[in-house]
């Protein structure tokens, strides 16, 4: 290597300084605080006491927490089996050179991702309303037997949330699949074609292995994102602080938010947050092990 003028040892820190200052104050420090808080209990303003593992014991025996876990896991499973196939399906439809207007369709499918969750919640609660909502009124005019007072928001909490999340996310993940599909070498597909492989076999044995890395990332994003579901149910059921009818909309993060900002027990909220962090890390590690095993 040729001799070159080198930078001073402070130079990289100069460039990192603004980022690290903000990161330290508003990420690293609060994160450390949350670890301390998780072992404390807050009694009213400015009165805290060290309680050891009590918060964690409480969490594991808290029926509301388990209701939240059940709802969150249910949503996550439903999100994974609806959003991933929908996104991949749309991408496969658009990944054909003989289809005109692909850019227009890609744009249309992607637009919902630009809409903020608060606005999605407003639009979907109005769409799903009894009688005046678009969903019930169109179903009723298409099929007169359909009850115009069908209680989507009142009795079908999860399906409503899953539908809103699907509308919002399918096009977002689609662009990742589309980018991956466009990187699949055409020769591979052609070779399979010549070997007489049908469309399903070509997908299963040629395309799928090629896009597997992106599929893994999307699965990770969908699952870890869905396990943190909060704003959508919180805003759908804002009048009950996100609980929804019979707590059917209560998620882990909603419960964390309620304990932290409504009850004011930051310690208990932090304990819930750390339990969730462990679950997320656990899932990420599990998925990594499974992909590594799949590769070797």
């Amino acid at each position: 290597m040729k001799a070159s003028r080198s930078f001073s040892e402070w130079t990289p820190w100069l460039f990192l300084a603004p980022y690290l200052l903000i990161f330290g104050t508003f990420v690293a420090w609060p994160l450390t605080r949350s670890l301390v808080l998780a072992f404390e209990q807050t009694y009213g303003p400015k009165t805290t006491a060290f309680v050891g593992l009590l918060n964690f014991q409480f969490v594991l025996h808290d029926p509301l927490f388990w209701t939240a876990v059940r709802n969150t896991v249910l949503f996550t499973l439903a999100a994974a089996v609806t959003q991933i196939p929908a996104a991949l399906g749309l991408a496969l439809l658009l990944n054909r050179p003989d289809i005109r207007g692909r850019r227009l369709f890609r744009l249309i499918f992607f637009t919902p991702s630009i809409v903020g969750l608060a606005f999605v919640a407003i639009i979907f609660t109005l769409l799903l309303e009894k009688r005046t909502g678009f969903v019930n009124s169109s179903l009723h005019s298409l099929f007169p037997v359909w009850d115009p007072d069908f209680p989507w928001l009142e009795s079908y909490v999860m399906p409503s949330l899953i539908a809103a999340a699907l509308w919002l996310s399918a096009g977002f993940y689609m662009v990742y699949f589309l980018a991956a599909l466009q990187n699949v070498p055409a020769e591979l597909i052609d070779a399979a074609h010549i070997d007489g492989a049908g469309p399903w076999q070509r997908f299963r044995h040629v395309t799928l292995p090629e896009i597997r890395p992106v599929l893994n990332i999307i699965t990770l994003l969908v699952v870890t994102g869905s396990l943190q579901l909060f704003e959508l149910p919180y805003l759908f059921y804002n009048d009950t602080a996100g609980n929804g009818p019979e707590n059917h909309a209560l998620t882990i993060v909603t419960y964390l938010y309620q304990t932290g900002f409504r009850t004011g027990d930051l310690g208990y909220a932090s304990a819930i947050g750390w339990v969730l962090t462990l679950v997320l890390v656990g899932f990420a590690l599990l998925q990594r092990r499974m992909t590594q095993r799949g590769e070797s």
Partner: protein, 289 residues
């Protein structure tokens, strides 16, 4: 390009694909169309017609019954103009400064070898797995101690160091900034700051504009943080202001849809103008990396 065997699919299969695309496209667009129609109908017509009120005008629509009074009400009687100004201000400041912060940080991590580099990198990227909600409480506590609650700065500062942004820029620096250029500039006696602004930033311009749009739209749509941090209604961004309409004017669906439209339209327009940058920025980390 030579014709591929798969390209000449039968007419029926192509028609089937067009059919599916149109159906899914309509399902995607119908909520928007419905919102648009609702926002220009009177409160009474909202309850009696699905899209536009039927009448004897062109296409069987009562065009004369349509109204812009909801929009007038939003901007004249309700603080929506102020909220929009707040949103524009917050999203602009946050996205510009966050982009610079992340670009400089990513440059520092990607283009210099120094002690502690690995530690810093893994500490920052490791926080990606931390649920954002875990930080809400302790961050609020920090803001409270710094006296920043209910100040614009209290919302702006915490948004300036997203781990996702640092990751994207570090990646962009590694992939597209050749070390030789930096070396050559140093030999020519160019200062480190000048190298960054005049040589490095122009090279990663596509990533700069992509991240600017992504973070602008992200900040614009943020609801929970401004709702916690900005407590005075005159500081509300559109997300909080429009959502609070639902509590105050819950029965006036036309007004609420008009408000939502006003809040969505600016970012929609921005996205339509810069969609290529936006999408390539999003996918660059996952697909190429």
């Amino acid at each position: 390009m030579s014709p591929r065997p798969g390209d000449r699919a039968s007419l029926t299969s192509r028609l089937l694909i067009y059919g599916l695309l149109v159906v899914f496209g309509l399902m995607t667009l119908l909520p928007f169309i419905w919102m648009l129609c609702a926002s220009i109908k009177t409160k009474g017509d909202f309850y009696t017609s699905q899209f536009l009120p039927p009448g004897h005008g062109f296409l069987g629509v009562a065009w004369d019954r349509l109204t812009l009074s909801q929009f007038a009400q939003l901007f004249r009687d309700l603080p929506v103009a102020r909220a929009m100004l707040n949103s524009v201000f917050l999203a602009s400041v946050c996205s510009v400064v966050a982009t610079l912060c992340c670009a400089a940080g990513g440059y520092g991590l990607a283009k210099f070898r120094f002690r502690g580099r690995e530690t810093v990198t893994s500490a920052i990227l490791g926080t990606v797995v931390v649920p954002t909600a875990l930080l809400l409480g302790p961050s609020f506590e920090t803001l409270f101690h710094l006296g920043l609650v209910d100040h614009y700065a209290g919302f702006i500062l915490p948004t300036l160091a997203p781990a996702f942004g640092l990751y994207l820029f570090r990646q962009a620096m590694v992939n597209s900034v050749p070390p030789d250029i930096i070396e050559a500039a140093r030999i020519d006696g160019c200062g480190e700051i000048r190298i960054f602004f005049q040589i490095v930033l122009p090279i990663i311009r596509p990533m700069l504009s992509a991240f600017l749009v992504i973070s602008f739209i992200g900040i614009w749509n943020n609801f929970i943080t401004p709702q916690i941090v900005l407590q005075s209604p005159e500081r509300y961004p559109l997300s909080v202001a429009i959502f609070s309409l639902r509590g105050l004017y819950g029965d006036d669906n036309s007004l609420i849809m008009a408000g939502t439209l006003v809040a969505i339209a600016p970012v929609m327009l921005l996205f339509l103008l810069l969609q290529r940058e936006f999408i390539s920025g999003l996918t660059s980390g996952a697909v190429k990396g």
